[in-house]
Structures are given as structure tokens and as C-alpha cells.
Amino acid sequence: MTQELNQNLSLFKKMSILIDENTRLLVQGITGRDGSFHAQKMQEYGTKLVAGVTPGKGGQDVFGIPVFNSVLEAKQKTQANTAVIYVPAKFAKDAILEDIAAGIELVICITEGIPVLDMVDVKHALNKSKTRLIGPNCPGVISPGKSKVGIMPGHIHQPGPVGVVSRSGTLTYEVVYNLSSNNIGQTSCVGLGGDPIIGTRFVDILELFMNDPETRAIVMVGEIGGEDEQIAAQFIKSKVTKPVVGFIAGKTAPQGKRMGHAGAIISSTDTTAESKIRILKEAGVHMVDSPDEIPQIIAQKLK
């Protein structure tokens, strides 16, 4: 009887992307100040935290979580499938490369300030592997009610039908807070990170949300600079059939200082907020002027 009930319940189980109750997390830098603080918060939220990794500190434990010297050892002993990185910037490249070498499926790098050429090496290794990287310089990923991997405040989220993807940290919290305050929950919320070279971009996450049956609408939060939003707009136009609501921050931000001619030659795209807003609108995204307008529009789209 109980078994049958459980089976029935699992049919009603909410879906999500990237992380869920099957996520087995290892924390790189668990013995550091930020790493231990957030490890505890993630565990409190209900994330299955199975291991910590700090080279040279193997054999210790941090509030009951065993610490290993290497990712490979941690993976073999605990079947960890996801890693989150809190190590300082100068060690972050090696931390990510170690995850790739150990065959970790999903790596979420919180660390900010990683040199760009380090990320070029990481990107090269990623291209040859099956590992997916989120970040760096990102708040992480949460699938409300199931698993939280990152630094976001868990309590502002609630399970529901909206997928959130953003380049920002606290601005994502603002958007989620507005959604939850209006009783609109989220399947998953993904912070892509603010660095020039990142592992996963808007298009990748939009595709995952498209394929996730429980995600019924998508909120996309972009910023000035770069051309990710323009690339996303093309994808939305041709592939995304679920409603997308968007906000771009930085209409009033001071113009970025120019970098020689090479930047303009690589991409002749206009990276201002106005241009991104226009292109996203043309792709059928419902753009808003302020984050607090999002819940109302989403509610209409969900009807």
C-alpha cells in the first residue's frame, strides 16, 4: 500500500533542471570560511551533501561530512555527481580541471576573479569532456524544495512552474522574491555568472527549460555588455515555444570604457541595454521595465 502510494506520488513529482533530489554534492574548499558556511546552509536546505575536498586535509570531517584530498577519491567513495567550488581565484582553474578529469557531471563555480586565460584553458578542457560548468562568478543553481547548490538565500524560493535564468546574483534574488511574494513558484533558478568566459550560457539553459515538462514559463534576466542575450534571442525566435519574460539591467549605467578596435571587430553587435531589449522584443520576449512587473506578466502567461 505504502509502496503504491509512493509510486503514485512520484508521478506527481515536480521536475527541474540540472539539480534535484538525486544530486550528490561535493564541496571544494569546504574547510575555508565561505565553503564551510555555505556547505552548512546547503545541508540545512536539504541538499545531499556527501563529501568535501581540500588537498592536504583528507581524513578530517566538517560537521559530519568526510573531507578527501582529491575529487577522484571523493567521487569513488561517495558517488558524488556534482561539485561546487568555493576555492580562491588562483586555485579555481585547477579545481575545475580536477572535476573534469574525474568525470564529474556538473560543476558549479562560485569563485570570482579568475584570470581570463585560466578560463580559456578550462573552456578547452570542457569542450573535450562531458562535464557541464555553471559560472564562474555566479550564485549557483537551486531547484526549490529539492536541492540548492550555491550561495542564494534558500527561503525566498518556492516550488512551481517558472524557470529563472540570469547573469546576476542579487538581482536574481529580487526577481525570485517578487515571484514568490505573488505565490508563483520556480522549477529551477540558474545564475550563469558575470565573467566574460562562462561555462553555460542563456541558450543552454533555455533549451533545458524547453525540455523540462514542468517548466511552463521562463524568466530571463540579462545585463549590458556581451552578446549572449542577442544569441539567446535568435534561439528563442526559432526554438522556444514557452512564454519568456525578460528584464535587462543597465539602461542608465555609464558606458563601458572601450578596448582598442579588436572588441568591435570580433563582434560588431551593439551591447547596450536598448539594443538587447529591442532584439529580445523582436524575438517575442515580453520585456519589462522593472523587476516587480514580472509576476503580473508571468501570471497572465500561465493562465
Binding site: P115, V116, V120, K123, I151, T252, A253, G260, S268, S290
Partner: protein
């Protein structure tokens, strides 16, 4: 981080990239001595870290000593986009047979280092890129994984490099020396963690040899910790003193034109806050991100910095507590009230971690708070009218 052309030229020289003879001068006797060494005619190039110096009259030619004296003092009195000219680069004037474009930079989307070159070098290169993109050639380095690109290794003489170099330099006698220059440019790009190393134009001079007629190098700020020698090249004149002070206090600050001061945690939320200020009819006075883990001290420093701006009529503090604890922010505000004279009204919006404690702390001290960002912005804009 950016450096001056004359500093970049010194790096080019060390790397073995051919440059025109000459050096930088700060006074006329120095300029005269350099011109005597190189011989006339010489080019005088104002050293400023802002674009458009040519159009502002910052580059002059001198055929003789008399012209040198006159042009040097003219350039010295020039102000380009608000910056005076302290250093003037004096170089031998080149006889230019042909101008190319050569650069190494990062393509963020590809996540790769890319060599860019064109046979249409010079000031109009961006127009060329827009109107005739087929004249711009790109070569991605990580694709060549079997070669040690960090050491300037290139598959010289065989594809795909040979295709690339032939396309840009159809004259066979140019192909080998051009490859050598690219090898050196790539090597220095990796060596110093550059974000850009650009030669525009790369010229063929009267003797038929390559010469870098300009030099531009930008560095990755995140990698400066690996290069103290590069940090020493920073020209502090181009750093706003308030922005520098903010940086020292781990705050990110950019001054703007309006009268609503802002203190926000996180760059995205800070930009969104400025946008909503504008949306509701106000004008932001600054961008200020207090960062992640904010101590009371950071709020105090943030207020100290934005209060230097006498145009400010109200201050909006917008905090979404995550790692940042709202009570830390509240304590910072109370400390600032004791230590600073705050002549304008404060509008405080706090949500998230330890919001309740923070609001109680502030209420005890008669500071009212908002939970909604829009309401807080509206109030701050009203007070600034």
C-alpha cells in the same frame, strides 16, 4: 588595465617586435635630444589613455628643430577629453608603403584566444570590419592544441596558419616576417595575461620591412596579481580618486551626473536600482556595489564616499540580504549617523537575511524602512526633487 603607447612600445621592444626609433619625452630638451638621435622628420604623439587623440590634434609632424619646438609646446598645452598631456612620444617618421592590422585578443563566446589580421589596417579598421568583413581574418589558437601557443608556437609554413597568413599577406616575402611578429605578439599576450595586444597599423616602411607604427596593450585585471611589474605601469591620473578610494575599501563605485545617491549590494541589482530611479523620474548620482559579505564598516565607508558629492539630495540604500546580513547594514548606518554628518535624507530598503532584526534596530533610531524596492525608490526620488 590600460597602459600608454610608449609603455606598450617598450614591451614590444623587449619582445623583439620592430618599432620606429624614438622614446617618450616630458620636456623640450628631452624631445630635442631624441629627435637628434633619430633624425628628422619626427612624429610627436600625445600620450593619453582616451580615444580620439588624432582628431583632437594630439599628433603632429616636425620636419626640423623649429617645428619640433613649436609643436611640442602646442601639444603640451593641449587638453584631450579633459586630460592634459604629460608625456609625448617622439618617433622617427616612417615612409609608409602599406598598412596592416594585427591583434591578439580573447573571443568570449568561443572562449578562445584569437589572432585578428587584415590587409586594410589604419584608423578605418572598424568600418572595414562592418562593411567588408571578408577583409578581416581570424585564427583561433586553442584549436591548435598540438602546438605550444604560449611560447608563440605556430604551425608556420603549413595550414591552417599558412592559409591565414597568405590571405592577409599575399606578397610571399612578407609571410615569414609577419609570422615572426605574430609569434612574438602571441607570446607576450600570454606572458603578461593581456586582454588585448594590438598593432594598428603594422606598416611596411620605405626599406620594405615591417614596423609597428602604434602599440596598444590592455591587461586582464583579474590576473594582475601575477604581474607586479605591470601594476607598476598604471597611470593614476586616469583613476578617479573617489573610485580609487572605493576600490581600496572593496567597494565598486562609479560617479554619475544625478542627485540620488545609491548604495546597493550586487552589480546587477545596483544597475536595476539605477534604472528604476530613472523610470520613476529621478536621476542616479552614482553606481555603488558594496559587494557580497558586507560589514558595518563597508556601509560607513560607502556613505563617506558618496557624501563627497555635494549634488546629492537623497540617499537610497537598497539591500537584498543573501550572504549580506541586513543587520550588518543597519549597524553600519547607525555607526555612520554617529561618525558622519549626513545632510540629506536616507531611504532604506532591506529584504532577506536578518531583515527583522535590522528593521527593529533602525526603528529604535527613528529610521523607517521599506520592503519594496519600488516604494523605496519612489520615496528617494521624491526627496531629491
Amino acid at each position: 588595465m590600460k597602459i600608454h603607447e610608449y609603455q606598450a612600445i617598450e614591451i614590444f621592444k623587449t619582445a623583439g617586435i620592430p618599432v620606429a626609433g624614438g622614446r617618450v619625452a616630458v620636456n623640450l630638451p628631452e624631445a630635442q635630444a631624441i629627435a637628434q638621435e633619430t633624425g628628422f622628420p619626427v612624429v610627436l604623439k600625445s600620450q593619453v589613455l582616451v580615444g580620439g587623440r588624432g582628431k583632437a590634434g594630439g599628433i603632429k609632424i616636425a620636419k626640423n628643430l623649429e617645428e619640433l619646438n613649436k609643436n611640442f609646446s602646442q601639444l603640451k598645452s593641449l587638453v584631450i577629453k579633459g586630460y592634459s598631456v604629460d608625456h609625448i612620444l617622439i618617433v622617427r617618421a616612417l615612409e609608409i608603403k602599406k598598412e596592416f592590422y594585427a591583434a591578439v585578443t580573447i573571443d568570449n563566446i568561443q572562449g578562445d584566444v584569437v589572432v585578428i589580421a587584415s590587409s586594410a589596417g589604419g584608423v578605418d579598421i572598424e568600418d572595414t570590419a562592418k562593411k567588408t568583413p571578408e577583409k578581416i581574418y581570424k585564427y583561433y589558437l586553442q584549436a591548435q592544441k598540438e602546438i605550444d601557443v604560449r611560447q608563440g608556437g605556430l604551425p608556420a609554413g603549413r595550414p591552417p596558419w599558412s592559409d591565414f597568413i597568405k590571405a592577409v599577406f599575399p606578397d610571399p616575402s612578407h609571410q615569414e616576417p609577419a609570422t615572426e611578429i605574430f609569434q612574438k605578439l602571441i607570446k607576450l599576450f600570454y606572458q603578461y595575461d593581456c586582454s588585448l595586444a594590438e598593432i594598428n597599423p603594422l606598416v611596411i616602411d620605405g626599406t620594405g620591412k615591417f614596423c609597428a607604427a602604434d602599440a596598444k596593450i590592455n591587461f586582464d585585471d583579474n590576473a594582475l596579481y601575477r604581474h607586479p611589474e605591470v601594476q607598476a605601469l598604471r597611470d593614476l591620473k586616469y583613476e578617479d580618486p573617489d573610485e580609487l578610494e572605493a576600490k581600496k575599501n572593496e567597494l565598486s563605485f562609479v560617479k554619475m551626473e544625478g542627485n540620488v545617491g545609491c548604495i546597493v549590494n550586487g552589480a546587477g541589482l545596483a544597475m536595476a536600482t539605477m534604472d528604476v530611479i530613472k523610470l520613476l523620474g529621478g536621476d542616479p548620482a552614482n553606481f555603488l556595489d558594496v559587494g557580497g559579505s558586507s560589514s558595518p564598516k563597508k556601509v560607513l565607508n560607502a556613505l563617506r564616499i558618496i557624501l563627497k558629492n555635494k549634488k546629492i539630495k537623497s540617499i537610497l540604500i537598497n539591500i537584498f540580504g543573501g550572504i549580506t546580513r541586513c543587520d550588518d547594514i543597519a549597524r553600519g548606518i547607525l555607526q555612520a549617523q554617529k561618525e558622519l554628518v549626513i545632510p540629506v535624507p536616507l531611504v532604506v530598503r532591506l529584504t532577506g537575511t536578518n531583515e527583522k532584526e535590522a528593521k527593529e534596530l533602525l526603528a529604535q533610531n527613528k529610521i523607517s524602512t521599506f520592503s519594496s524596492m519600488r516604494e523605496a525608490v519612489r520615496r528617494a526620488v521624491e526627496l531629491a526633487r
